[in-house]
């Protein structure tokens, strides 16, 4: 398990923009904005949302350093199919690179470059996870980063999965699943022992039996 004792704190999390409006940096309370005059009847949350700040820090734990290689393998796999289709197209099209063949190639190449060469390292840089007494959270993605928090009270099952490629690299994925697929926290790229320890930890504190998590 990564070291819990040294909390990593940063105020430059991509979810909070710096510099903040008003004085005092990203985490200061903003000066109260004028409340809506016509009272609470038509309040759409303006007062609360503009006057409160939530301190956002990066989750403490990173994933294994070898995970980018996993992402590379997975990336190659899906792009290889597309490349194969284009090669087949070339042969069926009487071995001539036609106009539309060039168009397809021009679209495929930059995307393949991004997803095989750039994305894996970017994903590693972004990927982080954390677990507290009340919630589990993960940050993932590359072009679009996703920061997801699920309260432990809402967890339904916790399980680990290992794909073929993950087994090659000795990695595992922990899924803390809720009743909605969009609320399932997926943590990829943990060493097998870490993954099992995390799953055990989550199962122990989440108390999966009480209620049905909806």
């Amino acid at each position: 398990m990564p070291d819990h004792s040294v909390p990593l704190r940063s105020n430059g999390d991509p979810l909070v923009t710096v510099p903040a409006r008003g004085d005092g940096g990203a985490h200061a309370l903003r000066e109260a904005s004028p409340l809506p005059v016509d009272g609470p009847a038509s309040d759409s949350g303006q007062g609360l949302l503009t006057s409160t700040r939530v301190l956002v820090t990066a989750p403490r734990h990173r994933i294994e350093k070898r995970t980018p290689f996993l992402f590379v393998i997975e990336g190659i796999w899906s792009w290889a199919i597309l490349a194969g289709l284009q090669v087949a197209w070339y042969y069926w099209g009487e071995n001539v690179m036609g106009f539309w063949n060039w168009v397809a190639l021009a679209v495929t190449l930059p995307y393949a470059f991004m997803s095989i060469v750039v994305a894996p390292w970017w994903r590693y840089v972004v990927a982080r996870w954390d677990v507290s007494d009340t919630a589990v959270c993960s940050r993932k993605g590359w072009w679009t980063t996703q920061f997801r928090i699920a309260p432990l009270a809402r967890l339904q099952t916790v399980y680990t999965t290992r794909s073929l490629f993950e087994r090659w690299l000795g990695l595992a994925t922990v899924n803390a699943s809720t009743a909605s697929a969009h609320g399932t926290v997926e943590i990829r790229g943990l060493a097998l022992a870490d993954a099992e320890a995390l799953a055990q930890h989550l199962i122990a504190i989440a108390n999966l039996d009480s209620g049905d998590g909806t």
């Binding site: 940063s10 991509p14 903040a20 759409s44 949350g45 949302l49 956002v56 920061f147």
Partner: protein, 539 residues
Amino acid sequence: MTGPGETGTDQAEEVLRPDEPAVAEKIDPEAPWQRLSWRMLLVDPLGSLTRLLPLFLISLWLGSNRSNYWFETVVISLVVLAGLLRWLSTSYQVGRTHIILKKGFFSRQVVTVARHRIRSVDTESDLFHRVMRVSILEVGTGRADAGKSGAERFRLNAIDTALVDPLRDELLAHRRALDPTLSEEDEEQWGSKYGEDIARWRITWARFAPFSFIGFGVLFSLWFLTWQMGDMHDRIMDLAVVEGTVDRLDSLGPPWAFVGKAIAVWMVAGVLAVITYAIRYGKYALTDHGQLLYVQNGILRRKHQALDKARLRGVELRLPVYLRMLGGGRLEPIMTGTKKGAAASTLLPQAPIGDVRRVAIHILGDETPVTVGLRRHPWKAARRRLTRGLLPFWIVAGFIILYRLDSGPSADVWVRWGIPAALVFFLALSVDRIRMLGHALLPDTLVTSHGSWAAKRTILEADGIIAWTVSQSVFQRSARVATVSAATPAGGGVYSVVDMDADEAWVLAEALTPGITDVWKHDGAGDGRVSPSMGVRPE
């Protein structure tokens, strides 16, 4: 799914083997055992055979010139035999404390439902059922359909339609007794029909039908069917009316011929849509029975279905731009435990927007979420609607230009007409997206609205939210906006506030799910390390 009447571990319905002692306790010796209607023997094979129709068509088509039809004979006799066995093996009893259903020929099962736990009685009958005057009846106990196996269902398929209303009256008597507004005269006059009528279908609502995709779906399947039927497609295309119209439109020249044909197809689809809409939603009625909403609809296939308010987590007003221009909308429930897809219920089909709002307010019991003015998003979110909304335009324009490069000056007319038309269309959609974008944070309720072609205003109870996701692309980050998604087990699974101010993203989550942002309250935080832009420091 933790309805008010449900406590502890005791099950509302139980599946038992017939020789277990628990069954004997629950059987009421005085109540008679009843069977399904014998007419079900006629309906059941017909229904199964219609579902097997594609198989028959294929087998008839493959072996069209042969003399023996043993395959068809075997299938039909199997289906008839299955129906007969089901009729023989099914019997039910309405006792004083429990209702009991015995079913299964090869493996006998007994389903018992405690009468005080019954919450709803659904009925359903398709065309064959209605001709034979039988209905399918299902007893619900407030448990979600999704979590129920077939064996657990108390489902009578099918009983005499004349028995349905008395049975429903009897089974739901204990729930009506809880309703203080129901007097004795009402009870005598209305029985289980007592309830507040919220909305009823009107024939004028059919005007919205052409502005939906129902008609195109029907048209496509008809077109597909005509292809299957040999020369039918050619025969239709050779009809004098069709040929004359196509010729007249073709004589208009390239851009207008295309527009004219599109309008002609739309008009045909529109007529089909009106018919389909009227068949599917005709006789639609929404009734409020306290804890339950009853939805009835269908002309050929009648449904009378209960929606349990305990499972309702909000509503969604669907306001696609093509309906909104005519002043229409739809209303969908956000419920847990419903099956997705065809079985999911609609609260209100395409209907005037006034009715949609009225029904939504009635169901929520509060008009604020429906009528409150939404908070606008930062101007950069509006700019993003334009840049993103024009993305398909660039793709369309790019393809038109590539097509022009490939096929020469004959495609000039597409460059001249297609590109400006696409620009106007996508620009108008983007402007509409800007108008629809917004959110409101009410006590324990999230209201969010976005989209244009598929615009919707979602009203979601904070209680139904089980996780939060804030996502931000590189472009969103530089525009300082973020998309906040609330995950819920109900309805579509996730409801998002698109492109709200990034600083407010987690505040919104914290306000609706207090304590969700506690993950950041570490001890000993604040060592002052400031990271570069990604929030990550080299360790």
